[in-house]
Symmetry: C2
Subunit: 258 residues, 2 copies
Amino acid sequence: MSGARARQAIRKKQHTGPTATLAPGFVQANLVVVPQADAADMRSLCARNPVPCPLLEELTAGSHRSRLAGGSDVRVDLSGYRLWRDGELVERASDAKAWWRGDLVTFLIGCSFTFESALSEAGLPPRHATCGVNVPMYRTAIPLAPAGKLRGHMIVSMRPYRAGDLERVRDLTRPFVEAHGEPVAWGYQNGLGIRDLSRPDEGDPVPFEPEEIPVFWGCGVTPQQVAIESRLPFVITHEPGHMFVTDLRHADLKRGRR
Amino acid sequence: MSGARARQAIRKKQHTGPTATLAPGFVQANLVVVPQADAADMRSLCARNPVPCPLLEELTAGSHRSRLAGGSDVRVDLSGYRLWRDGELVERASDAKAWWRGDLVTFLIGCSFTFESALSEAGLPPRHATCGVNVPMYRTAIPLAPAGKLRGHMIVSMRPYRAGDLERVRDLTRPFVEAHGEPVAWGYQNGLGIRDLSRPDEGDPVPFEPEEIPVFWGCGVTPQQVAIESRLPFVITHEPGHMFVTDLRHADLKRGRR
């Protein structure tokens, strides 16, 4: 299934669930929508923290058409949306049309599906994928570089790998600079301040096999979490796992490819 | 004095000291030179950590001419150089010609003089400038996003400001995205892990006046410190404070200006 077909299926409500296994090979993106008054801060947050917040595209104010996806409409091309006011979740919906305003600016952020695809192709599939659960995510003690009103901490996703595979895992994921790139930390002395790997802040815990260590990557839910925690008056995000499917191929997110 | 004149004076050994007060208005840069084998990691370190490591220019391998400075030669246009092997300082010199090799890649990194100029013009001169000492710098507990062989922690510079001036200080420095931009932290609950402000790791301590709090910015010595601590086999840096003076104006380092 192509990215275009996936968006069509979602728009027609033929596909209503998470998108992880939809349109393999095509880049998926996290969505954060803020009023124009907060857009400069969001742009700056991404520029200053590109590892957790790799900005794929910023749409012009009011626009709902992404250049990364032909004929797209970011108000209806995802299967679940959340509306936040002053840091509180106030509404959920299967499309964002009723909430749309002419001053809204959409940010599309790279997603780990891109580097996971490279890991799987190399025979190193992430544990949560083989277990059929969501990737475990953790809040860390690592402060982001603040940007105007936006302040917060890095969120990471975690995948167990054998210590002997670490350098290969780093090498495989490093090229995907617009999708978090190589890991930010690994092992147990990782400086992230995570208390208990078996209790992720989002997603599901995953089992470790002998000789495996935790490997952590910057996570694309970071900018939406920062927007919420910074209590912006109006923020639209997607339901976790219900991503925006683009027409880009994963290799397009390597350095200098676009 | 223009940037070109400053470089000429340094090249002729007419100016041999720090460059802080030389050629006001012109952008100065930190210098890190590594062999081509380590250049991809340095490039990636800067891309992943743009706040402490804002990359102004990467020269092609072997080149000593910067596009940011007419007729320049980075081997002789600074007034002091250091050579590091495997993390150890092995030699100091007033030019780097004797150390030069065809495989060396020069990285020029933005410097705080740019935003300090904006602060001074707004009537908020940094304390170290009015005291005539070097800016205090501190190693922090904030891990950088690793890049291949390169791993380390953010180094910050600190300037005291009144809490009531903080938002103005943030606003004034935010636009200079290629020179560290707005502060990364402020106050005493800053999460940086600095034990004693009166004992900086580099530079000089500065006095606080009543109602002032410490304000911290990412510091451009970070990438050279990371190269050294990561024990790269061969690294050239400048003597602290002896920067590369370019032909750029400070306003050129605002977002989108070049």
